[in-house]
Symmetry: C2
């Protein structure tokens, strides 16, 4: 039997654009992993790795037009957004080059001998070493920043781990282009091209997580797919770390003080954030607790006005379009759920953004749990509350999130309590502003309680490198046998 073809598809028409590759067989996955594994030693030098990451960024920038055009043709995300995403992606590669050079991520700790300690302390010098081959599962919604050349790949390479990427079927042509650029950058930096290997295919993804030489996994995608791969990763004879970002509702709490001060601005801001990228951000604010009453009505009016003006949108693929239409239809049909802007199917290949409303009291009572699940696409649910007890009850029913956002007045007496209630629910807590847009920064944390992520790690920002390392302590080891980073003891 010949291998299945991998096609690039135009979501604006549903038509096949070109055949890009074939799906990897089990033997193909084995070859890919072994090829990557064989390059491990070559990645040992931090200076070389930093140069490689910078070269990759340069090549990506130099091919921006071609890459963005391919990505737009496959994802319909639009040239402006994808141009920004490419700039973010090359900046991210450079930021990890700086992380590698800086070396603080090695978390070097040196204890000089102390025979008087209980128990006596020998010379101990600890740093971190790369885990081995990292399997990266690319995301649908960020064909660059969370895919082949994205944060998982960049941070794994920065850590010194070869990478096998499982391409997302929504953008195989972009994936091939990006992989070729990374492999070319490797060769330019004096590394084997197989420090990054690309595979396609659903079955290939399942084979990959089970391969004995795969040492860790980075994943961005759905709860269903991510949990299945997580389950496979932890069921292996030797379980491996699975850093998966699966899904997030990204709750927003708007206080009476906030809507008294700026109902219209807040509603319009929310409309912009939830329709950005056709609502296909993992940080889309998908659930809002807003006060009942006239100020809350003004907020809702501004939100609905903004969403009603948003253009119909093409989603990443037709499966997602169907899931969105089914999801909003099922939600809108629930008893007591209103739809001031009805989300759903528009023209053949597009969807209409929308807003659903419900009384928070229903959710507080345990009804309509479906409204507390992420619906991927341009829709948000506004739950109207009448008192703080309802807010607390609804927050108590929420799953884990990437973000939680508080909109409050300047000296809002409710703010400290709400911030304390939102912190356990998310990995990033915002006061004002909107969660879409994830800065690449040392203090960033893009992760959160399950199902937001399957670990306590972040997939964005400098500390994302920590996922691909483990500590090793050297005891009583002669200095000349130690890596240079462990030779300098601290001042006595």
């Amino acid at each position: 039997m010949s291998a299945a073809a991998v096609w690039s598809v135009d979501p604006r028409t549903g038509k096949r654009r070109e055949q890009v590759a074939t799906e990897a067989t089990a033997a193909g996955v084995d070859r890919a992993v072994r090829a990557a594994h064989a390059t491990r030693e070559s990645l040992a030098d931090r200076t070389v790795r930093a140069a490689f990451l910078r070269t990759a960024a340069d090549l990506l920038d130099a091919s921006a037009d071609e890459v963005v055009a391919a990505a737009d043709a496959e994802t319909a995300l639009g040239v402006p957004r994808l141009t920004g995403e490419l700039a973010r992606t090359s900046a991210q590669l450079r930021s990890f080059a700086a992380v590698v050079e800086d070396g603080a991520y090695l978390d070097v700790r040196i204890d000089l001998p102390d025979p008087t300690a209980v128990p006596p302390r020998p010379d101990l010098r600890r740093w971190k070493i790369p885990l081995g081959v990292v399997a990266v599962y690319a995301a649908s919604n960020f064909p660059l920043a969370f895919s082949v050349p994205g944060g998982d790949t960049a941070s794994a390479l920065a850590a010194g781990c070869p990478v096998v990427v499982k391409a997302h079927p929504d953008h195989p042509a972009t994936s091939e282009l990006a992989a070729a650029l990374l492999r070319r950058a490797a060769v330019k930096a004096g590394l084997p091209e197989d420090v990054v290997v690309l595979v396609h295919g659903f079955d290939a993804g399942v084979e990959l997580v089970r391969h004995p030489l795969v040492a860790a996994v980075g994943f961005t995608g759905s709860v269903r797919g991510g949990r299945a791969l997580f389950d496979a990763a932890v069921a292996r004879p030797v379980p491996i770390p699975f850093h998966g970002e699966l899904g997030s509702l990204n709750p927003v709490v708007v206080t009476p003080g906030a809507v008294a001060e700026r109902a219209e601005e807040t509603g319009a801001g929310l409309a912009g954030s939830m329709t950005l990228g056709a609502g296909q951000f993992c940080t889309k604010p998908g659930f809002v607790l807003a006060p009942a009453g006239p100020d809350g009505d003004r907020f809702l009016a501004a939100l609905t006005e903004g969403v009603a003006q948003a253009a119909p949108a093409v989603l990443l693929d037709h499966r997602m379009r169907t899931a969105f239409v089914d999801g909003v239809t099922e939600r809108a049909a629930l008893d007591g759920v209103g739809a001031p802007v009805v989300p759903g199917a528009a023209a053949e290949h597009t969807v209409t953004p929308g807003v659903l409303t419900v009384d928070a009291a229903r959710l507080a009572a345990g009804e309509h749990a479906l409204l507390l699940e992420e619906c991927f696409g341009p829709v948000t649910v506004v739950a109207r509350y009448t008192d703080e007890a309802e807010i607390a009850a609804v927050l108590g029913r929420l799953p884990g999130n990437l973000t939680a956002t508080l909109h409050c007045a300047d000296e809002d007496p409710a703010a400290p309590g709400l911030l304390a209630a939102l912190t356990p629910l998310a990995g990033r807590v915002l006061v004002g502003g909107w969660p879409t847009g994830v800065a690449v920064a040392a203090a960033q944390h893009h992760g959160g309680p399950y199902p937001a992520t399957t670990s306590t790690a972040t997939s964005v920002g400098a500390t994302a490198i920590e996922r691909w390392l483990r500590p090793v302590a050297y005891q009583s080891t002669p200095l000349h046998l130690l890596p240079p980073e462990l030779r300098d003891a601290p001042e006595a």
Copy 2:
């Protein structure tokens, strides 16, 4: 049906000493977890936590005679060893008090806004917050240092997490004493006593890992028990981190240079390390690659002489005695395996330490995989090699380990290559010395590739606290709403 009784048993006689408690029912586990969970807020203050940990250390020291007597009666580990273990345990509690006060573990990172960044960077301030209730499964072989008042408990409390300890059935009376001391220390420090709750019983342990309010697990024990609990932890609707230390062979490589220089000293040192605490350390050197030939013979002679002189030993319980006797019998019966000192059953309640030998070539060829599995108790396997290729082939067949040890000559040409080969196999790599004795230090790493541990974390040393925390980033949050630790931005 009344709850099952929990008995303290004397392993020197196999006789019941006293009934200590009853096994917790499912309802009892639920009460325990909820009681611990209710204390979370009380642990928010770092100064109070540090005072609590120091008070616990003081109370443990003040009750040393009583605690050591109980532990010796239940474990037969002997008063001198247990006196040392108690001192180590109180020192460990104090060291985590210092870690909490220091605050570096919070890993505070502050990024000031940068509108020119791609994408623009808002004000981001990240630190770490406690995960919630931690379930600690106590070890058989360290009734104090890896049990109720041990490193898992101390590091979890230091992180701000309440703890529910599942007592080990080998030392329930010691567990009750230690839990009472910790709970008294909590009250003295102004905390609710339920910051530490103790439960007994196998079924209780299974209930505990499944409880929705349990947020993370620390475990020290066998591969079989640990893997079953790990599987339960990751199969939950909301999977939780499981930091388990399951088993370790702790390989030692002795070079021709080492035995040429000091065969007798090395053999005698190994005999002492592998019989220490009746060979019941998780870091016992259980597998040794030593050269064939006359120098290697001298090493083996010194080892066998030391082991032959070791007194028969009482193991922690009769189940372990049976497992040891069966394990060494099965190994000794393998084709080509010698026993210069025959390990096995001695008098009714004791066992004889022993040494097994085999040609490394057999292991290199894939024979006798059983010899590469940990056998808990006073036995080690010496594999005699004829060249470096055999060493490499055998190391390639080893599972993950807590430690790996190299004995080499002063300017041994084989040392760099062997150190590079041992590093992927373990979390702590020693050059000279023996792996038993795990210093409590900032640079310590007590963990290693599976099955040594189920995560990349350490259970000993300052960084053990990292297991019970997760990062949270605050974005654009007014300073007065932030915790004090996040208010001071770095110098521009």
